[in-house]
């Protein structure tokens, strides 16, 4: 694996961009699962009491 300190500025900026995108996708996934869970629980409560 290459040493991150050896990266040129362009590659470092590209890597930061990729990491940021991955972070956004992971946070969005967590929020998505949370929302779906709440909706499903609410629906089940309203149906079954």
């Amino acid at each position: 694996m290459s040493d991150p300190n050896d990266e040129n500025p362009v590659d470092a900026r590209a890597r930061r961009g990729r990491n940021l995108l991955l972070a956004v996708v992971l946070v969005a996934f967590v929020i998505l699962v949370f929302i779906v869970t709440i909706i499903k629980i609410s629906h089940n409560i309203s149906v079954h009491g």
Partner: protein, 330 residues
């Protein structure tokens, strides 16, 4: 260097993987194709006419979009070799070397699994199965099997692009009735004349990559005849929702006028002179699809009109459903 050698040469020296930007991974998802998939899926979802939690509706559309993106990434992973030979596609992330094919494959598999799993857990099993079938059909049947083997590639493979309204309908209702299949049939029959019109003036690209598009295998005259035949089927088929209780007067007007215009342009294409292919040395540009020589204008016009036609049909359906316009037949 000959023309073919020039086409076969890579667009640029392969970049290192470290240079891949976040936008390259987004480009793997084919956002323009995804937008059409989402549009037709939303139409199917709303036409189902079942009340649905808006958050769950958004999740269903997200799953369809992500599934389409995953399929697009897998397509680019497997087609990297021929994409490098075509002017229109050689700057994509895989052929340009910015993203490795294995990474594109991993992204495609991950997104596809995510989309189908969430669809099954959050929406319903039928929608998840249809979404999985759509992705597998696009990757296995179209990309890996048909695309390089037969001029009927986009005829059969077009089913994958036709299914999103059915997936949307199934997501909303858990059913797949006749009206949903009519929407599928419209896109299915629309696909060949749309792509053959495009391939009539971009056939050099397909020839360089060895993709057996219809004009290369059967010739320009045969392709133009087949385009007209498909348009003659598509025009009345496009009217079908107006007589099955799905659509109202706005849709009927759009479908009849649009269908008539398609047939007129298909006849003009058939009786006109053969399109002059774009020179292989012309610069790579999205405008290549729209800015063409005079000889290719009939094919270009039909290509553009077919896009407008499909968009107008589904937009009319959406407008009628959202505005509460009653269908012509109950």
């Amino acid at each position: 260097m000959s023309t073919l050698e020039a086409l076969a040469a890579p667009a640029a020296a392969p970049a290192t993987v470290g240079a891949a930007r976040a936008g390259d991974y987004l480009a793997l998802l084919k956002p323009r194709v995804m937008s059409l998939v989402v549009f037709t899926a939303v139409t199917g979802l709303i036409c189902a006419g079942r009340p649905m939690d808006p958050w769950l509706a958004a999740v269903a559309i997200l799953c369809i979009a992500v599934g389409a993106g995953g399929a697009g990434a897998l397509n680019m992973a497997y087609d990297g070799d021929i994409d490098a030979l075509m002017r229109r596609t050689r700057r994509r992330p895989v052929p340009s070397g910015r993203v490795q094919a294995a990474d594109a494959r991993a992204l495609g598999v991950t997104l596809s699994l995510f989309a189908v799993t969430i669809m099954g857990l959050a929406i319903n099993v039928l929608a998840a199965v249809l979404l999985a079938f759509t992705i597998i059909f696009y990757v296995a049947v179209y990309t890996l099997w048909l695309k390089r083997r037969t001029p009927q590639n986009i005829v059969i493979g077009g089913l994958a692009g036709a299914l999103p309204p059915l997936v949307g309908w199934a997501a909303a209702s858990g059913t797949a009735p006749l009206n949903a299949w009519i929407l599928v049939a419209i896109i299915f029959v629309w696909t060949p004349p749309h792509f053959w019109a495009l391939s009539l003036y971009t056939s050099e690209d397909y020839a360089a990559a060895g993709v057996p598009m219809m004009p290369l295998v059967k010739g320009v005259a045969s392709t133009r005849r087949q385009i007209l035949a498909y348009c003659l089927v598509l025009a009345p088929l496009g009217m079908a929702p107006a007589v099955t209780g799905l659509a109202g007067p706005i849709y009927a007007a759009v479908a009849s006028l649009g269908g008539l215009a398609l047939i007129v342009l298909a006849i003009r294409l058939m009786i006109g002179k053969g399109p002059a292919p774009a020179p292989a040395s012309c610069p790579v540009s999205k405008t290549t699809l729209y800015t063409v020589d005079a000889g290719a204008r009939p094919a270009r016009d039909l290509f553009v009109l077919s896009l407008i036609y499909l968009f107008a049909l589904f937009a009319a359906l959406l407008v009628e459903k959202l505005a509460g316009v009653a269908p012509l037949v109950r």
